[in-house]
Symmetry: C2
Subunit: 570 residues, 2 copies
């Protein structure tokens, strides 16, 4: 591609509306333009990158045996009512009424549609296993679309759905997809990690997320230094704490007039934060389904993990307690709460690390006071429930006792689920098995955020000068820059010859023949992140060399033709 | 592709809901499955064909210098209000309200979005000319979606939009796109014609439609036998008629008690239909914009062309007259109307062929009577307007006098427009010209119905056994059929070797290793329209031959390897 014939439109300005580096750089490089909140047009430059990702995903999916289909983006309400998701999916579901006042949605995902397709297509176990995928436009009506294409409303996704006669077969395909995802992200040149994940609203028992690692990532990931285990912090297990020590202090009341947080109390008392206990007041349900006041306790330096908490009995749909409920049960305003001597009966759920504490500090259920020297069984009853209800933290002992937990941040770009029979049962999908009996297939589903990968790759690969594309995602692998293309015909011709030669050798190369000054031209090529830059100049030609610089190199080097081709891997 | 690993799902049943052959065959071949009215999922087989079309379009557009972008499908109302189309576009525009109650539409076309993109991207004449295109999903809320993907609501379209400093530049790119479209349809192996077209609601002065020729086509096209001229019947000019003959009959009243149509009157009177005149009562506007009763006259064997009529002064937004208006102006019920002696003043617009008639028959403006022997200037005043207001018919003399007009039917698959400055002006798009002055660019727009081409190709290419794909659109060029793959290992191996060899030679080949009986296997391959079928059998191998049959051939032939490869063009 000659850039004089291409619509390249970079900007020196850093756009004010962009909060994260990928959004800033995509706007500066002119890869995307905003149409409306969460809606972006992909410019010629941006689309080249998006298509690279799309192609890698498609080729690897095909190689893995998945078969491509294309489903409509507009989906009828009736299907979503069969699975109950028309109501349950929530505000992200963009509902649409057509001219006949029939309801549809702009598909945020396609479980219903593929299951309906399968009802029409699949009738025999002989057609299984099968894995259908598509690369298609989706819409999620984000309440606060932001970060450019990272959290856009309309986006490009690869979604695959597999059907199996047995759970074992589902497991085999799940592993196949897990491995395929690894090949896709490796091929794209990204540093990534697969982590155990909560399967959330999609449902199903087993799921893994694939994260591109980047400091700016929204998700916290936990790694074990001593094993392959990695999990989203939402799920990562904390280790069993050391046994509880014996009580050594007496309970005493401490004056904490304005100290409402564990941090403030510990600072005032001059003790470690680890000796305080945080009390979180929530409303769950008792065994009969009646509202029940619950105090969830974690150590002062820990954070409650809402997902772990919600998996405990009676807490499936818990909510935070109101101030009135707190006063009614504990007799105190928030900031001074604790499990000792509540006004009314409450349920106490202690994180395992809290249950293992002795001589700890809690709120006194009286404004301006805390209690210190608290011990289980002496100052208050043992907790009703002891469970792992906290987020792991950096340096935690790993649950297997081998090594410690490290934290990293990631951007979720893929997610694989074992759905089981949830959708197939709801939508009455059956096939005849080998004995001629109707059987409900097990399903898997496998998503990749194609457009999001572009932004995630930039979050992982950039510097002050712009984007640094991995080779497989770069709009072009190499660019031949011509100094003063209209000046010296020999230089222009040599550049053109090299450009043609590199393309013929299979190196996708652009020719920057726009006639910009060298500084502006080089700044553009760095901003848009082309891995290999070759400069053709009069001086270089005189000495039979080209100036070569890799996007990550600090210096350029002068190479003759053979050395240049070798450097480009040919 | 081994068909045992592919999801092929044909049906012997002819689906009851399908009215046209392409819809029937796409369902029988299992290319598409209906999700809801006008919404179809493309199966693996269907998608292979769709992608072939998409690829041909993309490659030819790229070769022509157009640059690919990708715009959102969801578009904000504000942009459509800038051009006034939010109201004007009508019921096909699918309007959507998001969770914040802001209005959007699912884009049926992208003039507004690309012009907004251009406002952000284009600032200088140096960036022009430029032609942006996309291949993207569109939605038109058809009042009666039908014919499968031929008139679906959600469909795949290639739309391109070009920007130019001058009308001359627009003309150059228009010609470039016109030629590119010719290359695309030629490459796809389709018989097609480009015809002059009315530009309709999109606007602009010059436009051509590209039609795939098929007897089942919805559009009537007019060709001149003596020249290259072709036009949609909506636009095709009728020739100047021969001069009017002298009057030879006296006016007389004819008793036509129940004869309300020209056909019935001519039959009753025993005269040629060409001697009768049809009077169509409409309401237009006079020079002051007041409603005006108009009688439009065409010969009894002709049909009024509404588009030609609407281009006459005062008829831009004409409508049919109500019965009350007719009675008030002519004094008669419909069926007996005519231009002679109306009750109130009316405007008479005569087709040129009517103005050239003598001794003709019209309604008497009295129920049960017609008038014969009518002559202009004697029995009534000369017409207020004489114009070409009829559809051409087969056998008409061509306007240039060379040869005659022939009619054919076509399916519109492409449309190119010179939009001029309509959108650029409405949306205030300007660039600086060479003198530093703001200039409004001229625009062109160029559409291709990518998914519709698949159906149109089938309408043109099919027989009783199924689809007959042109090579470039076939899911596979060739199929190697194995007789009894699990029986004779030598046969299975030979088939596999041939399959591998053909693919290596660049012939996209499927291996039918599903183990079906020969009759069922051959019927499937004919139904799905694979151009070249090769059968590997024990008997053939014994004589060193393969059984070869082209989809259009009536007989199979036995060919040795060399002859087979030669037949496949290798």
């Amino acid at each position: 591609m000659r850039l004089s014939q291409f619509h390249l439109h970079t900007s020196k300005e850093t756009p004010a509306e962009a909060e994260i580096v990928s959004h800033k750089l995509m706007l500066k490089a002119g890869m995307i333009r905003k149409l409306a909140a969460g809606l972006y047009t992909w410019s010629p430059l941006g689309l080249r990158v998006l298509r690279k990702v799309e192609r890698a995903v498609r080729e690897e999916m095909n190689a893995s045996g998945a078969i491509e289909v294309l489903m409509p983006s507009v989906q009828p309400r009736e299907l979503w009512e069969e699975t109950g998701r028309w109501e349950k999916f929530g505000g992200q579901l963009l509902k649409i009424q057509d001219r006949k006042e029939a309801w549809y949605c702009y598909g945020p995902t396609h479980e219903e549609v593929i299951t309906d397709f399968a009802r029409q297509e699949l009738s025999s176990y002989k057609q299984l296993p099968v894995n259908f995928y598509q690369i298609q436009t989706k819409f999620r009506d984000e309440i606060r679309p932001r970060f450019g294409v990272m959290r856009a409303r309309e986006f490009l996704m690869k979604d695959a759905y597999s059907f199996h006669l047995s759970d074992e077969d589902l497991g085999v395909e799940y592993k196949n997809m897990y491995d395929t995802y690894g090949r896709i992200f490796t091929r794209l040149g990204l540093k990534f990690r697969a982590v155990s994940a909560d399967s959330g609203a999609i449902g199903g028992a087993v799921s893994h997320e694939f994260h591109v690692l980047a400091e700016s990532g929204e998700d916290a990931l936990a790694f074990h230094s001593g094993s392959d285990y990695a999990a989203n912090v939402e799920l990562a297990q904390a280790a069993e704490p050391a046994p509880r020590a014996a009580a050594s202090e007496a309970m005493r009341k401490v004056d904490t007039p304005t100290q409402k947080t564990c941090e403030d109390v510990a600072a005032l008392m001059g003790i470690a934060l680890q000796r305080t206990v945080k009390s979180v007041a929530i409303i769950g349900a008792d065994a009969d389904g009646n509202a029940q006041f619950v105090l969830a306790l974690v150590r002062g330096d820990h954070v409650v993990n809402e997902i772990k908490l919600s998996k405990l009995a009676g807490l499936g749909e818990y909510r935070l307690a109101t101030e009135a409920e707190i006063v009614a049960h504990l007799g105190s305003e928030p900031g001074f709460l604790g499990p000792v001597a509540p006004r009314k009966a409450i349920r106490v759920i202690a994180d395992r690390s809290v249950a293992a504490m002795a001589d700890f500090v809690v709120g006194a259920n009286e404004a301006g006071y805390h209690l210190a020297g608290i011990n289980w069984g002496r100052d208050l009853a043992e907790p009703d429930v002891v469970a792992d209800i906290r987020n792991v933290v950096e340096g935690d002992i790993a649950p297997d006792g081998e090594g410690t937990i490290g934290l990293a941040r990631g951007i979720e770009v893929g997610h694989v689920f074992q759905l089981g029979r949830k959708y197939a049962e709801a939508m009455k999908l059956t096939v005849l098995d080998a004995n001629g009996k109707a059987a409900t297939p097990a399903m898997g589903c496998y998503g990749i955020g194609v457009s999001r990968i572009v932004a995630a790759a930039i979050e992982q690969n950039n510097d002050d000068n712009g984007i640094i594309w991995p080779e497989a995602m770069a709009p072009w692998q190499a660019v031949v820059c011509v100094i003063n293309p209209k000046g010296d015909a020999t230089v222009a011709q040599a550049a053109q010859d090299l450009y043609a030669e590199l393309n013929a050798a299979g190196i996708e190369t652009a020719l920057d023949d726009r006639g910009l000054r060298p500084g502006a031209m080089f700044a553009d090529m760095e901003l848009i992140g082309i891995p290999h830059r070759i400069v053709v100049s009069e001086r270089g030609l005189a000495s039979g060399t080209f100036e070569y610089r890799h996007r990550r190199a600090s210096e350029a080097e002068n190479l003759d033709r053979a050395a240049l081709l070798a450097r480009l891997g040919k």
